[in-house]
Assembly symmetry: C2
Homo-oligomer: 203 residues x 2
């Protein structure tokens, strides 16, 4: 078994999907949580000056979605062929599009602009993305791709812990397949154990 | 050979990387270019109401980067193993981060805000991303991952046709490995032939 290390801040955020996947695979790893005041000294050691970073036997990888795709394959949650992987990848990219709509509002520093952007988010982007994802889950036996559990489902359940905080609501209210999917993932024994023992953080 | 169809507007944009990859693989395909006035009628037929869309034997796929990863594998330009694919995927995700910084400026409708964002883009994001990508190419034998030609290189060469227009400059000026990489890709016989025969469009 290779030596795995996840480096991120002491938040769930973009590292939590990889922590879920490592838990799912019962893979031991070092869960390094950098305090904000120590980050400037560490930043230049990271491939793009960003975290999360995954290390495997000392080799560093960056970009959270790419890392989750890699880990998904390691724990047996990839597609059965290239076309299935395309289906998985495209729904994950759709989640990224949605995440970026939400973080753009969160990061807007001008209060008037932020209010305007939040209105567009709530009136247009929330229904658009959530209805599409709900329809996908309805067509895929409660999953987000290829009709069975894949890393896209794990990614979704963990990402929504962050997105719900940023969106200031439980976004799966009113979307029963999405809500059930999160329950399904979080009820997997190894993930349930991880959630029970992980550090308590807001984001 | 499956029947391939690419549907997009009559621009290079986000479809051009897939057109390059199909050219590289000498794969015949239907190159559908939708006129803007016909788009509203077609939109609801597309998986997320967006294009580009790739069809393979009538099955639709969306999300341009996911599609390019799929096509990259079909034409033999994927990694040799999961770790190599992670390296390829992460540099492509970095290009997406860079693209989104550039398109955010392009899409800003407030002229004052746009000027401010353009200044940040030029002073911070251009040097940051271009220096990083140049360093990666220097370390990878003139390529962007795993020391040899992969779909990340094809993606880069075609994406930069769009990004240079949006950035209002030839961004590879002063970055010899990146400039040479684009030349290398565009000199591949099948891609050279595609560039010579494709519709002439600005973007």
């Amino acid at each position: 078994m290779p030596a795995y290390k996840v480096t991120y801040f002491n938040v769930k955020g973009l590292a939590e999907p990889m922590r879920y996947l490592l838990a799912y695979g019962n893979i031991d790893y070092e869960d390094v949580r950098v305090e904000r005041e120590n980050w400037p000294a560490l930043k230049s050691n990271m491939p793009m000056g960003q975290i999360p970073v995954l290390e495997v036997d000392g080799k560093k990888a960056h970009q959270s979605v790419s890392i989750c795709r890699y880990l998904g394959k390691q724990v047996g949650l990839g597609g059965a062929n290239d076309w299935e992987n395309l289906e998985i990848d495209s729904v994950v990219d759709t989640m990224t599009d949605f995440r970026l709509k939400i973080t753009a509002v969160h990061q807007e520093t001008d209060p008037d602009l932020q209010a305007k952007k939040r209105e567009v988010l709530e009136k247009e982007h929330f229904p658009f993305y959530l209805e599409k994802l709900e329809a996908i889950a309805t067509e895929n036996n409660g999953h987000l791709a290829v009709g069975k559990l894949t890393w896209a489902d794990i990614y979704f359940a963990s990402l929504f812990e962050l997105l719900n905080v940023l969106a200031k609501r439980n976004m799966t209210d009113g979307f029963p397949h999405l809500k059930k999917l999160i329950d399904t993932v979080q009820s997997i024994d190894s993930i349930k154990k991880w959630i029970a023992k992980r550090p308590v953080t807001e984001m």
